[in-house]
């Protein structure tokens, strides 16, 4: 599914300078713990979270995540939005809860992020 269709499914307000229909989103990962995102979220996954600080965008940047969705009607901090814009990472805002967003996207066919296997020590 592309990000434009996805935004429609969750009634999202979009903050982005890039064309959402060009961005393919096969997987998503929902989490408020950035360390868990860094551990378990596969590259290319959409990040769904209720945290809105600048480190969310940093985390997305580190993992090459295509976009970030802020749930529960949270309004991101200004620095969060500007870092996202600088890096061409679209930000989606939705009033739905994390659970509702997950449900809607899962029903629409967005797959879970695969969990990278722990490496041999």
């Amino acid at each position: 599914m592309n990000l434009k269709e996805l935004a429609g499914i969750i009634d999202a307000e979009v903050i982005s300078d890039v064309d959402l229909s060009e961005i393919d989103v096969p997987n998503a990962y929902a989490c408020d713990l950035m360390s868990d995102v860094l551990a378990f979220c596969s590259p290319g996954s959409l990040l769904l979270t209720g945290l809105t600080n600048i480190q969310i965008v940093r985390t997305a940047q580190m993992l090459d995540l295509p976009a970030v969705v802020f749930v529960r009607g949270k309004i991101p901090l200004e620095e969060t939005v500007s870092l996202a814009k600088e890096n061409g990472i679209p930000v989606l805002l939705t009033k739905y809860s994390l659970y509702e967003v997950c449900g809607k996207l899962y029903a629409a066919g967005v797959k879970p992020s695969y969990v990278p296997q722990p490496r041999e020590a």
Binding site: M34, S35, V37, A39, N53, Q55, M62, L63, A121
Partner: protein
């Protein structure tokens, strides 16, 4: 590749606004050098977790990346409080992070285990009261 590429950053303690900038530079440099994306991702996670640790726990420190022909070596060195029990600190879920760090989404006790998991070689040395030295190596052709 000729001489190794050496990147060194002074990381400011407790500054969550700039945290991640150095790691992003390291990641972008690797990409520019044409290093495969899976390796870049692992390197980014290692650098970022190490950088966040310097910000959260150590009142800052030095983050260094040396990129040579076959490997990347990331070193994080600080003069922070040190880690009394490294084995405990390496346990998933164990954390001593502040509330501020937790509110930012960190302090889940995953940082050091994440670094180790993504490293090919991992070393950590710490002396309470003196500081911590973490070294992680990622090979490019593995």
């Amino acid at each position: 590749m000729a001489a190794p590429v050496c990147l060194e950053y002074r990381i400011e303690g407790n500054n969550f606004m700039t945290a991640g900038t150095a790691s992003n530079n390291i990641k972008n440099t690797l990409k520019m050098l044409g290093i495969q994306s899976e390796v870049c991702r692992r390197a980014a996670v290692i650098a970022y977790e190490a950088e966040i640790n310097l910000v959260i726990h150590a009142n800052g420190g030095i983050l260094k990346a040396v990129i040579s022909e076959d490997r990347l070596e990331i070193t994080a060195k600080d003069e922070g409080p040190g880690i009394p029990d490294i084995e405990q600190a390496m346990t998933e879920g164990y954390t001593t992070a502040s509330n501020q760090a937790r509110e930012m989404g960190f302090g889940a006790g995953m940082g050091l285990p994440n670094i180790k998991r993504n490293s090919d070689l991992f070393e950590i040395e710490s002396t309470p009261g003196e500081g911590t030295m973490l070294k992680s190596t990622v090979f490019f052709n593995k």
